[in-house]
Each structure stands twice: as structure tokens, then as C-alpha cells.
Amino acid sequence: MLEVKQVTKSFGDIVALKDVSFKVDDGEFVFITGQSGAGKTTLLRLILRDLVPNEGEILFDGVDISKLPKKKVPKLRQNIGVIFQDFKVLNDQTVRENVEIALAVVGLPRQEWEARVDHVLQLVGLSERADLFPSQLSGGELQRVSMARALVVNPKIILADEPTGNLDWETADKIMDLFEKINKEGKTILMATHHKLIIDKMKKRVIELKAGTVLRSDKETKSDEANVKSDSHEAKKQKTNN
């Protein structure tokens, strides 16, 4: 489904990603992890064609999206569900309208909207809150709106950039249960997170980035202990230095 081949992306002198390669199969749930600045968000933005790599290829269903003409980018994005750390919901629209807008974007006939929206709102547990505005919702609920909007168009893949970053552990856990449920329904999920506890709990494939390079890309069910220790050692070291 998705193949990233020797991708390099730099911003001026700063190299955000260097020679990154990996492959994601249909129905996989993959975590992209690494410290802040490791290149997780840059990688997701490249897949979304929000950025163009300096080198390498990104094949999505066999098509190199880095060479996609600009006018074909909206079509690509309509096949990708995106979930952001800061939710990115439209504040002046209700929950239902926020989800409907994605259907309007893909041009689905209006008569099909209600059933689809009802289905995803039920899936994310927001049926009761469909007519509320974002300002009336909690952080967890806002993230569910974002998920519902991503899911409603039945995308081929879901990209989630730190979806639990702004949530407390309990809420984050519930959101992850939801992601698991969605993945079990056959959706491919690529999630950037630095939340070790979540990665450990979910037992999914992990691609670890460090300073823009792939440190590890395996199908382990757990982030390896050595890495956790090394990270906590680094964190302690940093704390001492500060």
C-alpha cells in the first residue's frame, strides 16, 4: 500500500529525514516513534504531499506521490484520513457539520451523508453530541470528532500525528482503543507518537526515527526495553545537564 524509498528531506541546512525507507502493508497498524525533531511529522507531511522530498520516492498504491501534479493532490488527500494533535476542527461548525464537510469535499451525494455520519459518530461515541460545537467538547471528544471526520470518507490509510499528545492518559487510552477498533475493521493506520506506554500497550509494528534516519523498523510487538532504557538514560542526562 505505502512504500517510502530512500527519502531525504531537508529544510535549508537542516536535514529532517535522511535516506528513510520502509513499507506498510494493507491493514497494518504502524507506529512512527522518536524524540521531538526526529522527523515524524515531516514524514507524515511528505505522505500527505504537504511537503515534497528532496530525494527518494513515496509510493502510495504504486503511484509516486512526490511526483504527483499539484492538481491531483486533493484527490490523493481524499484517500487519506488525517488526525492531528491539535484536532484541527472547524470551531464554528457543529460536530455533525465538521464530519459532513469531509463528505462535501469528496463530493458524496448529500442523501448519503446522514447514514455515513451517523455510523461514524456512533463508532467514535459522539452520537449524543452531534449538534454541539467544538467549544462545548472536551479534548478527548475533539479528537474523536477529528477521527470521525477522517473515517467518514472511508480512506485507504489513516495518518495520525500525535493524536494523544494533548490528552491525559485515561482519555488517550480510550482513543487508542478506538484506533484499535478501526484497525480491526481493516483500516491501515500510520501513527506518529512518542508515547512509549501506548506503543508498549498496543503491541504493533514500530518504526523508530532518530535525527531523521530509521533506527528501527520491525514488526516487534513491543518497543524494546533497551531503547526505553537508553531514552530514559538520555532524558536523565539531559536533565542533569540542564
Binding site: K88, D92, I101, A150
Partner: protein, 303 residues
Amino acid sequence: MSIHLKTAWGHIRRVPFQALAAIFVLSITFFVITVISVLTYASGKALQYFETRPQIIAFLKDEATPEEVTSLEESLRSDVRISDVNYISKEEALEIYKKATSDNPLLSELVSPSIFPASLELSLVDLSFAEDVINEVKKLEIVDQVGFTASLGGEDTLTDVVNRLRTITWYIRIGGGAFAILLASTSFLVLIVIIGMRMTTRRGEVEILDLIGATPGFIRTPIILEAVIYSLIGVLVGWLLAFLLVLYATPTIISYFGEIPVLPRDTLQLFMLFGIILGGEFLMGLILALSGSILAVSRVKTR
């Protein structure tokens, strides 16, 4: 309601004062444009009235036979300098006299058709031909005398009237047109500023829509629709105000100008005139809104 129209309406409701400012400026513009259009129409009609009314009257001798009169009429009609020829019989001349002296019936009671000469009224294509035509007609055997629009008081007067009217019409057309362009430009700039502001305040929304796969057309449509709504409301309000003003003033205008048809006397024709103006203004408003909003959107996008 389409999602774009709903979004556009939502934007208008959220910032009512910006919307009011845009509609107000556009209303003033189209009010002035409607008034200028009516003035241009009226001045054109007045000019046409004076230009096409009989400018030369050839009084015929009593002994002129109908055949001679018909032959002269035909030869004048074939003259390229003459736009219209109208035969006035003695009886018709009396009727005209009676009408002209209707406020004093005693004057018309004392006269009979026999004292009025039959005549041929000539309208010229251009007043510069007047002298030549008068001289030629004077030489004709069946013509007794030639008058040059006596009702207006002499040769120079009609030329003066027409020239003055031409100048006024020119001023109305050029001055009014320049003023209308100035106002339309102001409206255009106001639309650009307001749509530009809207684009800036909607930057976050535009970014979200872009990331979820909205096409540039999908993103721009509500913004362009918003400008179109402002423009069409502005056209309607401006036109309606001018229409009501003209309707209110029509009886006074018609009685003041008398037989000069500066405005259509028939209600249906008056409505048709305003309908045409409204149609033209809708088109102009649409062009103004589309060009202004597209320019504003592209400017913000390239910033």
C-alpha cells in the same frame, strides 16, 4: 441549501458590520448608476425629440393641387438630407391651432380652416442641412413661404436648443460615466479588502480543508459566493431606491417636460426600462464580485 451557500451565509452573519459596509457601498454605487442611466435615457430622449421634430415648415399655396403636393412630398422623401416629411392639411392646421389656444376658446371660434395654409413639415437628418434645404424649397412653385420651426422662435433658437441638449447629454454621459466608474472602482476595492480580510481570518479553516483534500475551487467557492451575495443585494437595494425615487418623481417630471418624452408615459414601458437597467446592473455586479473576489483570493494565496 448547498454547503457553499450555507458557509457563505455563515460568514456574512458572523461579521455583520463588514457585510453591511460592503452592501452599503455597493448600494450607493448602484443607486447612482441607476440614476445616471435614467438621466442618460431622459437626455437622449429629449435630444431625439428635438432632433426629430419638424424643423422646416413649407407653407403651400392655396392653388396647389393634391397631385402636385403628393409629387413634392415624394421628391422630398427621397432626399437623403430629410429624415421625415409630414403633410398637414388646412383642417389639421386648424386643429393644431385650436389645441394651442385651448385656454382661450374664443380665439379658435373666430377662425375657419380656409385661413390656414396646408403645409409640409420636414425633419432633417442634421441641422447643418437646414439652410440649403430652405433655399431649395423656397424656389418651388407651389411653396408660398418657408418657416424654420417658428414654434420655437426662430432659426438660431432650435440650433441653440439642440446644441445645448447635445452638450448636456454629453456631460451626463461622460460625467455620469466617469462618476459611475469611480464609484464602481471604490466598490471593487472595498470588496477586495473585505474578501481579503475574510481570507485572512479563515486561514485556519482553509488549511484544514486543504489537508483533508478540498480542491482550490471548493475552498474559494463560499468566499466568491459571499462577494456575489454582497453585490446582488447592493444592486437590488440601490436599484430599488432609485426606482422608488423615479416613480415618486415621475408625475412631476412628466408635467414639467410636457410633450417631451423624457420618461416613458406607459407604466409597462417604464417598468421595462427599469427591468433592463436592473438586468445590466446584475451583470455588472456579478462581474464586479467575481473579479474582485478572485483577485482577493489569489492575492492572499500568493502572499
